[in-house]
């Protein structure tokens, strides 16, 4: 009975039924486009799909679909005739809100579930590898995000009186906080000469500290402590999909979004329950609400004007024109009329000036309040690893190494790194080859290879062989993990590279290693290639090793049947480092040089005899 107080399923059914064409269209088209977009990756052989690949279409419509859904379910409040039709029926506001929210969430659940099932089937039925973790993350992240945007949209509908004011309110709910964060960052950044990294430890002092005549050096020396400048970075901690591409899937973000959704859900109920239904077809009937919304939307406009003005004071006229124009355009769009132009003009000037003053003051406060950071106990270093050809992140907790990394040097420099100091602060450093090697050693001892275990390797490919998939069996993983125990990160990647994949912390991580040092593993992998070669052999072999003789290609062509038979017989022969590769289209065959030489002697001689 309590359930009936909140939900009226007959009403919900009818409300969904009235828009059945649109809803069915969305249910069919969106999963199809999603699958198509992900399926495009099939063209690139053995591509491994991650969370971001799955989310391409879903993220593009993250605002559109929930907004549309909210409009379909609650849009009746914007029209007097529909308000009369729905609100006069024997259903309470509580039931309308509860039923429509339930319907919206159910629809979102179904559409995200359909996508999820589609991705799972795509992974099963095609060569694409889609990690189960990525699919699960896709389901959770987008379900939560869509529901959040849907509930925010419902609040927008409950407050607004027509579609335009609804869009304005929803934009404010979703983007005002990110906008404040961006403004805050921008103002901090403008005054960031006062974000400092304080070095108290001799180990992190720069080499040039001893250069008494160096003015920069002396300027940074304060009370015996050395002060480094900090390159600040925008630290987005937003709970909206706005930061999706910055942060990807973050547990904290999902939990925050869920909490915020619940708060909005409760708030939305009270707003809807007390909504004045006569406020339809008019932006905001309440003049105070109209003013508040107008001022809130004015904040980003004035800030853009402030930035324009800051960049060049000569552009002050442009900044003023933008502010005043917006003030009038807003009235025209929302109220569809201009009333008391002189008063509006005066108000626009005064409000703009007030906001500008606030920005100047905030900037001033930031400029006179320096942020001083201590060298942290833990840093994350990002650098380019030329061996593995990608940018690993190495978390370093070694105090000495941290100091060495922080320190500025005069010595010949080897590479650039970015040091994440935490709390959104970063410094860039150029490091010596010695420090680079220490980081690599630290990574070897503490990080990369050790993180790949029998349990977490989800996929193995050979990046040297068109990404051919290596069967991910327990014995393969055991072989690889044994090899990783003794693997040296600094081994340069040659032609025997395999890539290991794992899905951890909601991210697809990969490690490329050269297996040249492990003949057992090498043989195992090469034999897989050989099997694949013989299976797909198209009757034409090319290439070879010139050192085996100029007529090598002819010999093979003349004795093709014998040669293939020979390959079949020798496909599982153990390979040493001295291997020969044959090509057939894009496939390859590996064979021992000595074994092949025996064949060539036998058939090459026969060939010569025939020709003589």
């Amino acid at each position: 009975m309590r359930l009936k107080k909140w939900f009226n399923f007959k009403y919900l059914y009818q409300n969904l039924k009235k828009s059945k064409s649109l809803l069915i269209f969305l249910l069919c088209v969106i999963p199809f486009i999603n699958l198509w977009m992900v399926g495009v990756n099939l063209l690139s052989k053995n591509y491994v799909i991650d969370f971001y690949d799955l989310s391409t279409v879903t993220s593009l419509i993250a605002f559109l679909l929930p907004l549309l859904l909210a409009f379909v379910l609650f849009g009746f409040v914007f029209k007097k005739s529909t308000v009369d039709f729905i609100m006069s029926k024997p259903i309470t506001r509580k039931q309308i809100y509860g039923s429509n929210i339930l319907g919206g969430i159910a629809f979102i659940f179904i559409i995200i579930l359909l996508n999820t099932i589609g991705f799972t089937l795509l992974g099963w039925l095609t060569d694409l590898f889609i990690p189960a973790g990525a699919i699960l993350d896709y389901f959770i992240y987008w379900l939560v995000t869509y529901i959040f945007v849907f509930i925010a949209s419902v609040i927008g509908i409950s407050v607004a009186g027509n579609i335009i004011s609804f869009l304005v309110v929803v934009a404010l709910i979703l983007f005002l906080y990110p906008c404040f964060t961006l403004m805050d960052y921008s103002l901090r950044y403008e005054n960031s000469n006062n974000v400092k990294l304080e070095c108290n430890d001799e180990a992190c002092l720069p080499d040039e500290i001893y250069c008494v005549r160096n003015e920069t050096c002396l300027a940074n020396l304060e009370n015996g402590k050395y002060i480094y400048d900090v390159d600040q970075k925008y630290d987005s901690t937003l709970s909206t999909p706005v930061n999706y591409y910055n942060e990807g899937f973050a547990n904290a973000s999902v939990i925050k979004t869920i909490i915020l959704s619940i708060i909005y859900l409760i708030g939305g109920y009270f707003i809807f329950k007390h909504r004045k239904m006569e406020n339809s077809e008019v932006g905001f009937k309440n003049k105070y609400l109209y003013k508040v919304i107008k001022l809130l939307t004015f904040i980003p406009v004035t800030y853009i004007s402030y930035v324009i003005y800051s960049s060049d004071t000569l552009l002050i006229f442009l900044a003023v024109i933008i502010c005043i124009s917006y003030y009038f355009i807003y009235d025209l769009i929302i109220k569809r009329e201009l009333t008391n132009i002189l008063k509006t003009l005066l108000e626009a000037i005064l409000v703009s000036a007030a906001f500008m003053l606030i920005y100047v003051l905030v900037g001033f406060i930031y400029s006179i309040n320096p942020v001083t950071l201590r060298v942290p106990d833990e840093i994350t270093v990002e650098f380019y690893n030329e061996n593995t050809n990608y940018y690993p992140e190495v978390v370093i907790k070694d105090k000495d190494l941290i100091n060495e990394i922080i320190q500025k040097r005069d010595e010949p420099l080897y590479t650039n790194i970015t040091v994440d100091l935490g709390s959104g602060y970063y410094v860039s450093r150029q490091i010596t080859e010695e420090v680079y090697k220490r980081i690599m050693d630290y990574a070897d001892d503490n990080n990369l290879g050790d993180e790949y275990t029998i349990d977490n390797i989800i996929h193995i490919t050979s990046s040297s062989n068109q990404g051919l998939v290596i069967p991910n069996t327990i014995s393969t993983r055991e072989m690889i993990v044994d090899y990783l125990d003794s693997y040296n990160e600094s081994v340069s990647l040659a032609s025997n590279v395999i890539t290991l994949y794992k899905y951890e912390d909601h991210e697809l991580k990969k490690l490329s290693i050269d297996i040249i040092d492990d003949l057992e593993l090498l043989n195992y992998v090469k034999n897989i290639f050989n099997d694949s070669f013989l299976e797909n052999f198209d009757g034409y072999i090319w290439g070879g090793d010139p050192s085996l003789g100029e007529n090598f290609g002819d010999i093979i062509q003349n004795n093709e049947i014998q040669f293939l038979q020979f390959l079949r017989e020798h496909k599982y022969d153990e390979l040493t480092n001295d291997v020969i590769k044959f090509y057939s289209g894009v496939d390859m065959f590996y064979i021992n040089r000595s074994v092949l030489e025996e064949f060539l002697v036998e058939y090459g001689d026969a060939n010569e005899e025939q020709s003589s």
């Binding site: 009403y11 009818q14 009235k18 006069s88 239904m277 003049k287």
Partner: protein
């Protein structure tokens, strides 16, 4: 019974649309609510139907506060002046929608009535003419078999023949189901032959409400001419609401009782005709008696 006490409703917080409105709508009656355009008739109906929330005052239906009360709403159906039907819904779909909302909905009634009115059951209602759409709405409303039916500008767009048909249906519904029907119109003549109670809304409140039969039997229109010259003072012994003399004939509207009639007969008039009053006349004279110019209101 619907009791409304000191109802106040404002749209923008400054100007009241309804202010201190009091009204009693008896059970099993057809209550006509008359008022000029913008007088607040529709707003009052929307307040009763919980579409709008009153700023102050109380609306009680059968002794219970009606606002957002599901149990009470189950016994109410409202057909507004500006009709809405779900896009693409036929009369059948609409009827099914009403059926899902109202427990006592009579689908057979809709079938029968639609057939009689030659309404296509399966065609989208939104393709119908304005009058046909209103017919559909009225049919669905009557089929709900609820206790209170509210019609705003009831017969707007309906031709006279169908209008008469619906008046009969409404009257039948009232007697059959003990239904109370509340109808609004800016045209008093439209409600005259169907309503048994009337309320006049003006100046943000119900100015006057009464039982139509009682009004009609309480008052009488007389045309009189005497042998000798006469003036209004000649009839000082009567309770006169209206007096107008043209030539030698005077038209008088007065409270009707035996004593009054005997008084007139004792004057030995040359002409003495007792004429029935139209509802409009009753209202005009009542309002004038209260100091209002009725023509300016309606």
């Amino acid at each position: 019974m619907i009791e409304i006490k000191n109802l106040r409703k404002s749209f923008d917080g400054t100007v009241d649309v309804l202010s201190g409105l009091n009204c009693n709508i008896p059970d099993n009656a057809i209550y006509g609510l008359v008022g000029a355009n913008g007088s607040g008739k529709s707003t009052l109906l929307r307040c009763i139907n919980s579409i709008y929330k009153a700023d102050a005052g109380e609306i009680c239906v059968d002794g219970k506060v009606s606002y957002d009360n599901e149990e009470i709403k189950k016994e109410m159906v409202f057909i507004p002046d500006d009709l809405y039907f779900y896009p693409g819904y036929s009369l059948y779909d609409t009827a099914k929608f009403y059926q899902s909302m109202y427990e006592k909905f009579d689908l057979e009634f809709v079938f029968d009535t639609a057939r009689k009115l030659k309404l296509d059951f399966n065609k989208s209602v939104n393709t119908f003419s304005k009058g046909m759409r209103r017919q559909c709405a009225i049919i669905c409303a009557l089929a709900t078999n609820v206790k209170y039916i509210f019609f705003d500008e009831t017969f707007d767009g309906i031709d006279p023949i169908v209008r008469q048909y619906f008046k009969k249906l409404i009257a039948k519904q009232m007697t059959k189901q003990d239904t109370t029907i509340i109808m609004t119109s800016h045209n008093l003549r439209e409600l005259e032959d169907i309503c048994d109670n009337l309320g006049l809304i003006n100046d943000k409140k119900i100015l006057f409400e009464s039982d139509v039969n009682k009004l009609k039997t309480d008052m009488i229109k007389v045309q009189i001419s005497l042998k000798t010259d006469f003036s209004k003072d000649t009839f000082s012994g009567l309770d006169i609401l209206y007096y107008k003399k043209m030539g030698k004939v005077a038209t008088i509207i007065m409270k009707d009782n035996k004593k009054s009639r005997k008084y007139l007969e004792n004057l030995k008039p040359v002409i003495l005709d007792y004429l029935p009053l139209t509802l409009e006349e009753i209202f005009i004279y009542q309002m004038e008696a209260l100091g209002y110019a009725f023509e300016e209101m309606v």
